[in-house]
């Protein structure tokens, strides 16, 4: 009885193997599937990644060190806390500075009126708070 069971088991696993082979064969015969896969795998970007793989691995190793991970997490929480509108304003301000290569001299009276503008005083306030936090 046991011998028969053994033989039966063997024939069953052989059959399972044959079915798996049939499936793999189906996949390998599927030209369009292989084309789609190779399109994904063989592209300019993937070649670049393969080319830079050693550097990437090194980078990932550094990034995943405990002390660096903690720093990255802090950076992320900082990023999340940032107000998007504020950032946009900031980047616009930088752009404006860049665009106006020649900064025109400003009279003191003009400067005082500019300082009293609510938008400007708000910005100054933010800057002061930031400086305070860094100093403490």
């Amino acid at each position: 009885m046991e011998e028969i069971n053994e033989a039966e088991l063997q024939s069953e696993s052989l059959e399972r193997l044959l079915h798996l082979v049939e499936m793999v064969n189906n996949i390998l015969k599927d030209e369009e599937l292989l084309k789609a896969i190779s399109k994904l795998v063989v592209s300019e970007e993937t070649f670049l990644i393969i080319d830079r793989l050693p550097q990437l691995i090194k980078l990932i190793e550094q990034l995943t060190r405990q002390e660096n991970l903690e720093k990255i997490e802090l950076m992320l929480s900082l990023l999340q806390s940032l107000d998007k509108q504020m950032l946009e304003k900031l980047s616009n301000a930088f752009k404006a500075i860049k665009a106006e290569e020649k900064v025109k001299p400003m009279s003191i009276s003009k400067m005082i009126t500019t300082l009293s503008e609510p938008e400007v005083s708000k910005g100054l306030n933010v800057m002061l708070n930031l400086l305070k936090a860094l100093g403490s």
Partner: protein, 398 residues
């Protein structure tokens, strides 16, 4: 060892995706017999591949090769199922009785349900009925040089909800590859208020149809076809001229007499509970897949999931259908998407891309193995279905 006489008799009418998976899932606990009208099991989605790729590879396998050892197979046509007396009558009037029965014979395609469609299908074929008709479509799309090519839906309750869209997009691919696309006007005519019936999935599909230059006619239910003058008239009263046309034919329930009469609806589909597949009050009778009113989409995946629910219920578990659909959709040029919804969630906006095409093809190529080895694939599908629940996808793709 369990004595065969102790096992209860489970008859399964139909050896398609639902019937075969159910049989293979039950063989340990029941004395299972599958009755099928043909020695072959057809993978119907292959009709699209025949129609637009001339690829016959996955069309059929012998049913006996798909059933696990121990499942009995009878090749015969079932004439009648009497739920009251628990008797199944075969074509030669031989009868079989049962402790449990699952009816899963699929649909009957009725070209004559639309006036003129019998003639039309002789000319241009279709991709919902037979491999012969699908091969006619391939002749048409690989020879047409100019004119208007139409795919029209005559019956919204057809097999494989995305198939008309796959059809028109794959035809577009063929025309483009042959370099004749600019001379062919392509029209998709549908009964719905928009290109794809489900509004949410329409947001994925409509831009693709637009990009590929396919004209969509909404509220157009093909009703009459005048093959002399090459015109289709819709139920809504509009006309559409064509040079070549495919009209998705009317689908009816199986040609099996079922007693009592109220077990089937006016179109011959079997009235079954959408959660449990149970037929009326008969707790020993189930209807699975395309033949059953419980199938919210006529697809193999639905039949598969329903078979698993029934196989658990007869073992005393309270399994229920969620109405999950998982319709892989090919869009041509190695792109694909999935129509994934359930009773509680409309179809998610799964984006069209190459990864989804690869997933679709892997499913198709693994099809025979999935039927043969439910024990191997069940855990894989459990994980897949769990992680691609419409609820989850809705959060991912807004």
């Amino acid at each position: 060892m369990i004595n065969m006489a102790e096992k209860k008799k489970f008859l399964i009418v139909g050896g398609g995706a639902g019937g075969a998976i159910l049989a293979n899932s039950l063989v340990k606990d029941f004395d299972v017999t599958v009755i099928n009208d043909s020695p072959y099991h057809y993978y119907w989605p292959q009709l699209l591949q025949i129609a637009f790729r001339n690829d016959y590879s996955n069309l059929y396998r012998s049913l006996s090769s798909l059933l696990v050892k121990g499942v009995n197979l009878v090749i015969d046509r079932v004439k009648k199922v009497d739920l009251q007396d628990r008797i199944v009558t075969l074509s030669n009037n031989k009868t079989m009785n049962y402790d449990y029965v699952a009816i899963a014979p699929g649909v009957t395609i009725e070209h004559k349900g639309i006036d003129g469609n019998e003639k039309l299908v002789e000319q241009y074929g279709d991709f919902h009925s037979t491999p012969q008709n699908a091969s006619k479509v391939f002749d048409v799309v690989s020879n047409m040089k100019k004119g208007t090519f139409v795919i029209a839906v005559g019956d919204p309750y057809h097999r494989c909800p995305p198939s008309p869209y796959e059809g028109i997009l794959l035809a577009d691919e063929v025309f483009r590859l042959r370099g004749v696309r600019n001379d062919i006007n392509m029209i998709l005519a549908v009964p719905y208020p928009r290109a794809y019936p489900a509004e949410t999935f329409n947001e994925v599909l409509e831009p693709i149809l637009k990009e590929r230059g396919i004209n969509v006619m909404t509220f157009f239910t093909a009703d009459k076809i005048d093959t002399e003058n090459k015109k289709i008239t819709s139920l809504e009263g509009e006309e559409l001229s064509y040079d070549a046309a495919i009209v998705v034919p009317v689908h009816k329930g199986p040609k099996i007499e079922i007693k009592p009469d109220d077990a089937i609806n006016q179109d011959g589909f079997i009235n079954a509970d959408k959660f449990t597949n149970q037929i009326l009050k008969y707790d020993d009778a189930f209807a699975i897949g395309d033949a059953s009113t419980s199938a919210n989409a006529k697809t193999g995946v639905t039949a598969h999931l329903q078979a698993k629910v029934v196989s658990k219920r007869v073992l005393g578990l309270d399994a229920r259908n969620t109405g999950r659909t998982n319709c892989p959709t090919e869009l041509g040029f190695e792109k694909g998407t999935f129509v994934i919804s359930d009773y509680n969630h409309p179809a998610a906006k799964v984006p069209a891309n190459t990864i989804n095409f690869i997933m679709k093809r892997l499913f198709a190529d693994a099809y025979w193995d999935i039927i043969r080895h439910p024990e191997f694939w069940d855990p894989i599908f459990d994980v897949y279905f769990e992680n691609t629940q419409p609820e989850v996808l809705w959060k991912l793709f807004r």
